[in-house]
Symmetry: C2
Subunit: 127 residues, 2 copies
């Protein structure tokens, strides 16, 4: 069970933007602050923009801003955007045996707890 740097970088970028909120911050600044490759970060933050967590301003003096208040954004939202749905196993679509399969009990319980934990942590707590 691992979490990729995508999730971590996405989260850290969002925390960096939360610190600047409601002002904007650009890739170069976040990259420098967090020690993350600027080009890679640029790609990752694109996902956050397409999923309406941040808005961008192009051109000179541009950058990114959070769309919502930090206290309205959870770590769960960010991580699901960066990594896809949490614990996608045994959702009944992929596995027909889901109902009688013993392990599905574990995955379902786990997914519930992970979501509960991650969606309860809001960005304002991480500043």
């Amino acid at each position: 069970m691992h979490f990729s740097t995508k999730a971590e970088y996405g989260l850290r970028a969002m925390v960096a933007l939360a610190r600047a909120y409601p002002k904007q911050k650009n890739i170069a600044e976040i990259s420098e602050e967090e020690g993350i490759s600027a080009k890679y970060l640029e790609k990752l933050i694109g996902k956050l923009r397409k999923n309406n967590l941040v808005k961008s301003q192009k051109g000179k003096g541009g950058g990114y801003t959070l769309i919502k208040n930090p206290r309205q954004i959870s770590s769960g939202e960010i991580i699901e955007i960066m990594e896809g749905p949490i614990v996608s196993k045994c959702d009944g679509k992929k596995c027909a045996k889901a109902k009688k399969c013993a392990s599905s009990f574990v995955w379902n319980k786990l997914a519930f707890q992970i979501k509960k934990t991650l969606f309860a942590i809001k960005l304002n707590e991480l500043i």
Copy 2:
């Protein structure tokens, strides 16, 4: 955030052995029961043996048995063996910034909850 089939297959193999407990069951039987490639399963179950969750008997009529009673084995143990330590990020060894890094709060809280959940589920509940 995903879980590999290694964890799932390992868990299902252990549940299959728990159902037979204290009798033994061989690879062919588990493979057939669970619909998992016999050869792959053989490799995976080797990990469980090396980590003292199951013991094997070689030769004709051989197979595997749980070493402990199903109620003494948690899904957490199994999953950690199959996939490595749960949420290995931000343990202070890899990342020097761990203390001040905002995201480490999230990973640590999450790791705690995941472990709590998985170590509380014992094999006897899954039969």
